[in-house]
Symmetry: C2
Subunit: 474 residues, 2 copies
């Protein structure tokens, strides 16, 4: 077979990992990236500075020999550290078992490591400041614009893989160029803003290091992930607008801090936080324990962009053998399961195994890939949306709190018990679609059991295990 050239659009996490996978299969790989080389440039602040790396992502990194290196650079997060409005924080472990935890990694650090690894291969070339602005579905040519000169060039390889993210230009060309292309984009009413907790004066962490911190507040929430060096990156999830899309105003009870139960318009959306006064009123009311740790709150808040949270689904992902959408370009998800990157890495792994099977018969590889993978990316997209409501609301529901307690006991007692979260996060051998189906059945069962008891210690664990083992797994 003559040497084939594969064009990758986008040198983000998925594109860089994919370049390594393909180089190891002796393909020539050209990666076109709109932004400058992040290894020489300032990292743009305010957009997911760190990420949770878990077993599906690690499994893919392992295949290219990058897992050990990355885990050295990561901070283990053993559970969710819940910050109630008043009272002590408490740690809810992710799993009752040893070794089942997630890892806070630097997005930029991981991306740079992947690019460096890809660059070790002679067959890989990166082109920065080269933005893909279109794709010809008929010829397979990509239109690339030089960011500096504005000059446009047409490029063509033996095939093209688009890892150009949620706003994919390749996908947009497919939307307009392929008849009967199924496509949806749906946005949450909530957006996000990244904020900062610096290291303590002594260089240590101001909160528990080995945890994902959550401030659940029903209509909104904040989370924080630890960074190497003692800082935390916080993300505030909050409604964009105080009006709903249908024009009605959010009816929001003032939560504590005011007269309990009095219906009053409280600050509960980004568009209401327009001054330092309203910002601090909001933070002091809802995140009083965090404010003293956030000296640059106002600066961060008014400087960093407000991001949107959307789910993108489409199909088919391929244009014959000429192009394939992979990662966020094919299936952007909301971040509430911490699976966006892990899912994209798993995409690379699945694609790699199909190239093993069919070689460079791209149409067969891509068609089989879509056929096998779509059900799983749909499943994680749906679970990620559902988990938003769980993270925001459920931790305040006593039945749910008992259910989490029961699950932890089950995981500690039975090596073969896995919560839905554990199946998604730690069982890289189990497809997302199976985790969703089995996990939902299990959740319904446990919620029913916990609704009927006052105290988890009254529950017969053996009996529950028998019931959960009876849930079919396909």
């Amino acid at each position: 077979m003559p040497e084939q050239k594969i064009i990758i659009i986008g040198a983000g996490l998925a594109g860089s990992l994919l370049a390594i996978y393909l180089a190891k299969k002796d393909f020539r790989v050209e990666v076109y990236e709109a932004r400058p080389d992040m290894r020489n440039a300032e990292i743009s602040a305010g957009r997911s500075i760190n990420l949770a790396l878990s077993d599906r992502g690690i499994a893919a990194l392992k295949e290219v020999g990058m897992d050990e290196y990355m885990l050295r650079e990561a901070i283990p997060m053993l559970g969710r550290n819940i910050h109630p409005l008043t009272g002590e924080t408490r740690l809810l472990p992710y799993s009752g078992r040893q070794g089942e935890y997630i890892n806070s990694v630097s997005r930029a650090g991981l991306n740079v490591a992947l690019m460096n690894e890809a660059d070790m291969h002679d067959r890989v070339r990166f082109f920065f400041g080269q933005k893909c602005v279109g794709f010809d579905c008929r010829t397979g040519e990509a239109l690339i614009e030089n960011a500096e000169t504005g000059e446009k060039t047409s490029l063509k390889g033996d095939t093209l893989i688009a890892t150009d993210g949620g706003g994919s230009a390749v996908r947009d060309s497919i939307l307009h160029g392929v008849p009967r292309f199924n496509f949806s984009q749906t946005f949450l009413e909530h957006g996000y803003k990244e904020l900062h907790i610096p290291p303590a004066p002594d260089g240590g962490f101001m909160m528990e290091e080995n945890a994902l911190h959550i401030w659940p507040r029903h209509q909104f929430m904040m989370i924080a992930l630890p960074n190497i060096g003692g800082s935390f990156t916080c993300t505030l999830f909050l409604a964009h607008e105080c009006r709903n899309a249908n024009g009605s105003e959010r009816a929001l009870l003032v939560q504590n801090g005011g007269n309990a139960g009095r219906s009053e318009r409280a600050l509960s959306s980004f568009d209401q936080l327009t001054s330092e006064q309203t910002l601090f009123e909001f933070f002091n009311t809802h995140f009083p324990d965090a404010v003293p740790m956030m000296p640059t709150l106002a600066d961060d808040f008014f400087t960093n962009p407000t991001g949107s949270l959307g789910t993108i689904k489409c199909f088919p992902w391929n244009v014959g053998g000429r192009a394939l959408l992979l990662g966020d370009s094919a299936h952007a998800v909301v971040p509430f399961y911490g699976q966006g990157m892990n899912c994209a890495f798993e995409d690379c792994r699945v694609l790699d195994s199909l190239i093993d099977k069919h070689g460079a018969d791209w149409e067969t590889v891509f068609t089989e890939y879509g056929s096998a993978r779509k059900i799983n990316t749909d499943a994680i997209a749906d679970m990620a949306e559902e988990n938003f409501y769980e993270m925001r609301d459920a931790v305040a529901d006593p039945v749910f709190v008992r259910k989490r307690e029961l699950e932890t006991k089950l995981e500690q007692t039975y090596p073969d018990y896995f919560s839905k979260y554990s199946m998604v996060t730690f069982r890289e051998d189990m497809p997302y679609s199976v985790a969703k189906e089995k996990g939902n059945a299990q959740d319904r069962l446990l919620m029913e059991i916990c609704a009927d008891v006052e105290n988890v210690s009254a529950i017969d664990l053996n009996y529950v295990m028998e019931l959960t083992r009876g849930i079919p797994t396909n």
Copy 2:
């Protein structure tokens, strides 16, 4: 209030009716239409030559004084005339009640009548051969391209209403210009092709005139609607491709005509019907009673385009007070409930009532319109997709046939009984969303009842009515 100018994009059915509504409110109206004036031009063949006009559409026409004229030009269709593969055809009435029927109207005839009526108003001006190619969401300007010269002009009124159909250019600009615009387009694997049954030599109809004819064949179906003058327009609904989107081949049992039950690849998709030989093999096998009535079958089949069947949903429909999507541009539906046009006409009626309430406060009018209307257009979109499966498959299910029989008896016996179809089609006072909810509950109930009996005469109608009356209606 100074005289306001409203730009309408598209002079199809919805745009033309809307122009009349707005002119009656003393607005100045300019309608820009990409195609030439159909009153002077040849009508393009092969795309929904006739349509089923029913009570929601009639209610809107009545408000502008057009209902009586249109019904004079229409052919009543009293029921579905089912053509089984062998044996006699049978008529399933749409309703047990007098006066509840649908009407076959000429799309072009209705469109011309609406344009002529709109043209009676001095305040309405039509511009033909003027194609909208973009909309500036910030300024509210539409970019209009002259079809002859290619010259582009920017236009702006006090507001703009886009009735430019399923492929709306205005909506595409909103998709790219409005942050967090929710959008989905999903296509059926089936497409459609229009075919022709001419009048009998004596000028009469070759089949029952006052019926919608259906040839249900499980994996595909054909329908026919009567035209003034004795002809029928047939529509064949058939899969585009013999492969599914996921690459697997359709496993299709040869239906009769072959050895019963033998699994064999039968002709069952457009891409297999590439020659006159395969075309006639397909038609002779599945539509033997229709073929003798279709002397131009091969010509029609290979000349007329194959259409796609898609559902489009999006939200919000308005850009502040600067633009509104209405009709198919906001919510294209598949044709299996015969409600696309009727729903668009109801759109105009709802919008008109909100202008009565809020005057030219476009942002309020549009926001309230979207808020009130979205749930109903979602409902009809979902019901239309579901009805495809009912029309194709259910008529061959004995439980479903008994259920239809039971419903007809209920409708004949009880003036307050309405099937889901009747609620959608004849109850213009009932929102689509209510018809869907109540109709589905009723369908589940009747199917359960009919699953348990051999013969409908054994069913206690009074008891069934009591149960259906107990179904909540909101």
